[in-house]
Symmetry: C2
Subunit: 506 residues, 2 copies
Amino acid sequence: MYAENNESMKNAHPHIIGYEETLEGREFFAAISPLDGQTLPGHFCNATETEINHAAQKAAIAAPAYRNATPEQRAAFLNDIVRLLEERTAEIIRICDLETALPETRLQGEMGRTCNQLRMFATQITDKTFLEEIHEEALPDRVPPRPDLLRKYIGIGPVVVFGASNFPLAFSVAGGDTASALAAGCPVIVKGHPLHPYTSQLVGNCIRDAAQNTDMPDGVFSLLHGKSNRVGQQLLAHPAIKAGAFTGSQNGGRALLQMVNQRHTPIPFFAEMGSVNPIVIMRDSLEKNYEELASGILNSCTLGVGQFCTNPGLVIIEKSAVQEQFLKLLHEIVCELKPGPMLSAEIANNYMAMKRAIASRHIVKIIGKAQSEGKYAEGVPCVMACRASDLLQAPEIAEEVFGPSTMIVLAEDKNEILQVLSVIGGQLTTTLFCEKENLPQHQDLLDKMAEIAGRVLYNSYPTGVEVGLAMQHGGPWPASTDSRFTSVGAQAIFRFLRPVVWQNFE
Amino acid sequence: MYAENNESMKNAHPHIIGYEETLEGREFFAAISPLDGQTLPGHFCNATETEINHAAQKAAIAAPAYRNATPEQRAAFLNDIVRLLEERTAEIIRICDLETALPETRLQGEMGRTCNQLRMFATQITDKTFLEEIHEEALPDRVPPRPDLLRKYIGIGPVVVFGASNFPLAFSVAGGDTASALAAGCPVIVKGHPLHPYTSQLVGNCIRDAAQNTDMPDGVFSLLHGKSNRVGQQLLAHPAIKAGAFTGSQNGGRALLQMVNQRHTPIPFFAEMGSVNPIVIMRDSLEKNYEELASGILNSCTLGVGQFCTNPGLVIIEKSAVQEQFLKLLHEIVCELKPGPMLSAEIANNYMAMKRAIASRHIVKIIGKAQSEGKYAEGVPCVMACRASDLLQAPEIAEEVFGPSTMIVLAEDKNEILQVLSVIGGQLTTTLFCEKENLPQHQDLLDKMAEIAGRVLYNSYPTGVEVGLAMQHGGPWPASTDSRFTSVGAQAIFRFLRPVVWQNFE
């Protein structure tokens, strides 16, 4: 599995452990072009247990000093990361494009978002109304007397962040998890995603350099490479680690959560694991807008070759006069679409296998699919359909298929829609399309949608997650491990903060 | 183990399952007087699996309706519980005194606190600044456009609350966990503590009656009795349950957390498991105030026969000229103290056994203890001492001894104090005594104290937990399962709320 030769060792990139660079292991790997399967230049190596322990110990030593850094000092650190990312954008995007095959415009946008996230946290932590202190003054004459109490947040301690394959910038080395943890005053160890290791290295260098520029303690940031699951598991098991954050598949998230549950000392572990993000279209809306809806859904569903966690994988439509026209139009549009390169051959193969398994069920019909171009790691857009009554008997056909496909669910009435929403599990988002004047009739649907999701949308598409104060990106299991927290937006910082109350200090 | 006879069955009290009462099981138990070991009147029965499922299903059915109740409606429900508790206080306290042997004045105070907690949550949920909605208006002209986003909290779903033995009112059936969960819009199933079942029944009746008076949905509240661990375990394992709250021992909390970790669908489980609540006394303070400190510490340590979770079980003193006088004074005071009845013979036996095991170590010295009166379930106050250097080699002697004992740790210098604080694990509270003018020298101690605890006190005692907006009652493991949350004070509600963002609804 691992290339072991002098060439690998000569070219291999080191792990970043605080202000050191190390390369002790012998399990080498390289990135693979998703366009043609060619090995890309540059070798990387699974971090060894010694390197993992070293990074964790450095983070533990850095933690008290970094916790005591003022919000302004931490903000300066975050802003200097932005400065370096912007300075080195061209090189980072060039490499990232090679490793992920994501188009340059998308990566430019993602770099912008990455920098905006860092800037947002830099602003929020210096805003006293956001991380509000609560002060209850002493009431010495009350019976019993009230002591002076001052409640403040402090960082929870060293955080392990897992880079995500599908957001090589915005949810990887300097992404939202890292930004929110660093903003909270927590040292961060990133386990880089093996599909874009060189991108990770370049971004990791920016963070390390910014830490040095702004006099942050050695150990405030480390980047460990790893293709083996062992690296992440050993990191999460280390006693110095106080929290974890992961964006990825349900299988990956579940496996890591099991690791965390075996720790002697429990820690919060936030995994955002995606979902099918059901869209419900009521009769009135479909009859009025079916053309717009057909193209809107396929656009949302195939964005980024269907590799967004808010990708709509289930579209439940209420029976209507235009149902056949809608399906026909979906057929026409999807057949004209082009396949796109997915992030890796493995992801593309999984997509194909899951799609085939579902399409092979006699209760599922293929409405249409794009023409394969026979390319390496291609993701071929596809629309399937089934009856709601069949889905209720076999809810496994509604499981997430990571890629550019969607399942149209034909429901007889609202009651069937409610039943489908009840069996599909927790979601990042749910969406309702209906005419404004009929919205008040659908409080029952909205209640159910809020019950199963962290974000409920009206007459719009779930892809495109606004990064701000109000965003909630998370939801009931299995969309995330803890529906009370979010991985996107300013509130993401609360995953890594804990309150301490100071009694009788005034 | 279980009395099975007609007498038990005739007198047995039913479980409260929504607006029904049931009694299907045959595993009977009764409360025992902690004063003399006599069986108290009234029998109770372990809830059966059928009853557990029934309560969980009722809670699941009640959840959507109760979630949609307005804050004002939920506040009316909470306030009606208070009205009934106050109306029935005399009877509740009479029974509670029999079951717990806690003195009437203490129980009067605890009833006041219980009612205040319910009133506080009723007030907070109708205060828009507390459960703040975040609204980010649409910016259609921005590139890309920002959608309208409105972030609101909703209840997480049915919550299982475990009644605590040491707070038969304030952290039992209508205690802080129940009050915060009901305030959050979550149905509650209480697993009553078997040491005070009749108290639980009387309080449960108040909640049930208040729910009916204020037209809350059937199933918003249930009370299941249980002496067997099975009852709580089956409740926590039920798929309809969305969160759990527990106050009790580390062993109990760990066992339940393991159950939760085995669920197919993970849920948040908040356990507050107590701690040794170290007090650090610096030389200046000891030399100036050793007399006051000796009586203050013993008072805090023996309050409620040492059965508070904030009971100071470790007192670390910096070497000083008055060390011997301080120990001598502790000896004199503790020898004059009277034993008190603990909550049960089992708790008293555990206390005695743990105390003996620790005192038998050659590195531990008994400074003094009160005279046993040979009574049933008595807790005999005791002061032990050890050197910090010995404790560092054998940190298990610093483990929590639930009862009226404390360990004085003799430290050579601040460095040893810091080392002791580093090995004793997470705490609910840490306390520093030093003279005001020297406080700035001890930032290192305060940093360490905040790192390991949820509440840091200055020149005061940790027992007595203020119930307000600023309180943090929780701390790093093993003091609690999640240091980001509190079980006391207004913030306790956030354990049971999750944000949902509504996109594009305006």
